[in-house]
């Protein structure tokens, strides 16, 4: 369908044309200065923005998830279940509801601005509430929040499998805490990190709710583009082309990533 054309009344005409793809990569016939064609980076920018957001989200999520997973894996076995349970509760709360919670926090009148206001008041610094909602930062925070548990669980699974005697051996051989972590813990937990990255990176690439609600019209991602082509603009051929590109992008990234680090079997466990 992505090779087809849109008829004036919104139906799909099945031909073979690459128009949708050239349009996606910047070829435009809708030029300001009367030229027949020109370069319009609109859609290329959307693709790039989605990719960089997915990379940043994954990095932040790993940074936040690792210490927590490490803490749970090192906790007393009887307490581990309780800590895991506490990670599961936000995960099982509906996706849409979690975005809504952040919308309330990030608003100009929201809790974050109120708390910042108190602190600034105590320090006698003049404070004007920050405009946080409908910015790229808000979308990043929302994405990190949504997908954090998907990283904690696989990292925990692989950390928990590590034999305690390995730490003792490392200590006996004279490694300090940092060295033990870098040479023993981190390499052995890589399968968990890989699995978590796959579980985070791919959905972030395709999600449109977070950017829709926390990003407003400012932050448009591939997901929003596809959704609009299908439901508002009624050009499913262009939407199909965009989703094919999205699929190829995630598959390519996953392929190279797993080839470098191996495929995490922890995916199934999570």
């Amino acid at each position: 369908m992505s090779f087809g054309r849109r008829s004036p009344d919104g139906n799909v005409i099945y031909t073979f044309t690459l128009d949708n793809y050239t349009r996606l990569f910047g070829y435009s016939t809708n030029c300001p200065d009367g030229q027949a064609s020109c370069y319009d980076p609109l859609y290329v920018n959307i693709l790039g923005r989605s990719l960089s957001l997915a990379f940043n989200t994954t990095l932040f999520v790993i940074t936040l998830a690792y210490p927590l997973a490490y803490f749970i894996a090192r906790a007393h076995p009887k307490q581990r279940n309780m800590y895991l349970f506490m990670v599961l509760i936000p995960l099982w709360t509906n996706f849409v509801i979690r975005v809504y919670a952040w919308m309330m926090l990030l608003r100009k009148e929201g809790a974050i601005n109120i708390i910042l206001g108190w602190i600034m008041n105590l320090l006698h610094i003049p404070f004007t509430p920050l405009e946080m909602l409908y910015t790229p930062g808000a979308v990043l925070v929302g994405m990190v929040y949504e997908f954090l548990p998907f990283m904690i669980l696989p990292i925990y699974t692989s950390l928990e499998k590590i034999d305690v005697s390995l730490y003792e051996a490392a200590a006996d051989l004279g490694a300090n805490a940092v060295k033990t972590f870098l040479r023993v813990t981190l390499p052995l937990s890589m399968p968990g990190v890989v699995a978590g990255t796959i579980l985070v990176f791919i959905p972030v690439m395709g999600t449109f709710i977070v950017s829709d609600i926390l990003g407003g019209r400012q932050v448009i991602l591939v997901g929003n583009l596809i959704q609009r082509q299908f439901l508002d603009a009624r050009d499913p051929t262009f939407g199909s082309a965009a989703s094919l590109i999205l699929m190829i992008m995630t598959l390519v990234v996953t392929y190279f990533y797993t080839r470098k680090f191996g495929f995490g079997e922890e995916i199934v466990v999570a």
């Binding site: 210490p67 349970f85 509760i89 509906n94 509801i97 952040w102 809790a111 466990v269």
Partner: protein, 298 residues
């Protein structure tokens, strides 16, 4: 070296991450008691009980339910009840069907060698490695094309036309849940000792009796956890439902999303709070059941 030793850095980071995980939820619950209908700032709890709802501008002064005003409003909201009913119906039907199909697929992949086996195994990972939105538009396209042809071929008009609704949502859910169930049941089958089945056959049980009396009870925990995963995936699903639902098949996530794009009253918070409580109870119950189960096996 004490294996349970944790550095202060890890402890502080853990506390911060837990705060990050829970702060939004606590805020959400707090605002469900908001006296302000506009729900922009927190204007305190609703102070008093009274026969009728008393409003002052957008502030609720008193209500028959007192601070729980928004929960009572929620209970009276017919749209919410309908959406909740749809959500549960779809989740139940889709879970049962996908669990049966998924279990059969797992057994087939475990026992038989066939030409397409590597391909079938690999295709189980499709819902994991392909963004959900691609699946969503995929099924949407499939349904709308197919329905278009059928409606044209049989000259269906008006209410007789095939259109998107509960059936399409359920079918799409089954399609994306089957691989997850299969993977979970497969993980359980991996440790399955075939000699039990052989023993049953030697003792004269036919294939069906062997399955029913030996294999099935042994893999039941795997099937149950697969079913549970499927059920939660279905309850929680937004993207695929978003593309395949039609008039009358709104589910709770779709309903909440619709509200977020229009007016938001504390009712949305009340709905979210109830949801969180239900999930909390379900996870707690599950943990207790699992603990009891594992103790029995010891």
């Amino acid at each position: 070296m004490n294996p349970f030793r944790r550095s202060p850095f890890v402890i502080v980071a853990t506390i911060l991450v837990y705060i990050f995980l829970y702060a939004p939820i606590i805020g959400l619950v707090l605002y469900s008691f908001n006296a302000s209908r506009a729900n922009v700032t927190f204007e305190g709890f609703i102070p008093a009980y009274s026969q009728n709802v008393v409003m002052d501008g957008s502030l609720v002064k008193s209500s028959p339910c007192g601070p729980f005003h928004w929960y009572c409003e929620l209970a009276k909201n017919g749209d919410v009840a309908e959406a909740a009913g749809n959500t549960l119906t779809i989740a139940l039907v889709a879970t049962i069907i996908s669990t049966v199909i998924g279990t059969m697929a797992a057994l087939a992949l475990q026992r038989y060698n066939f030409k397409m086996k590597p391909f079938s195994q690999l295709s189980l990972y499709i819902p994991i490695v392909i963004p959900e939105i691609v699946m969503g538009i995929g099924v949407l396209t499939l349904f709308s094309q197919f329905f278009g042809w059928v409606n044209e071929a049989f000259n269906l008009v008006g209410d007789g036309r095939l259109s998107l609704g509960i059936a399409t949502v359920t079918m799409s859910h089954i399609a994306f849940m089957v691989p997850f169930v299969t993977l979970v049941v497969q993980a359980r089958l991996q440790g399955f000792d075939k000699s039990y089945e052989e023993a049953a056959m030697d003792l004269g049980a036919n294939e069906w009796a062997t399955f029913r009396r030996v294999t099935f009870p042994m893999i039941l925990p795997g099937i149950m956890s697969g079913a549970l995963l499927a059920f939660t995936l279905s309850l929680d699903d937004f993207v695929i439902t978003f593309f395949t639902n039609g008039p009358g098949s709104t589910t709770l996530p779709i309903y909440v999303y619709g509200l977020l794009r229009r007016i938001i009253t504390p009712q949305v918070n009340a709905l979210s709070t109830v949801w969180i409580l239900v999930v909390f109870m379900a996870v707690l119950l599950l943990q207790i059941l699992q603990n009891r189960d594992s103790k029995q096996h010891l």
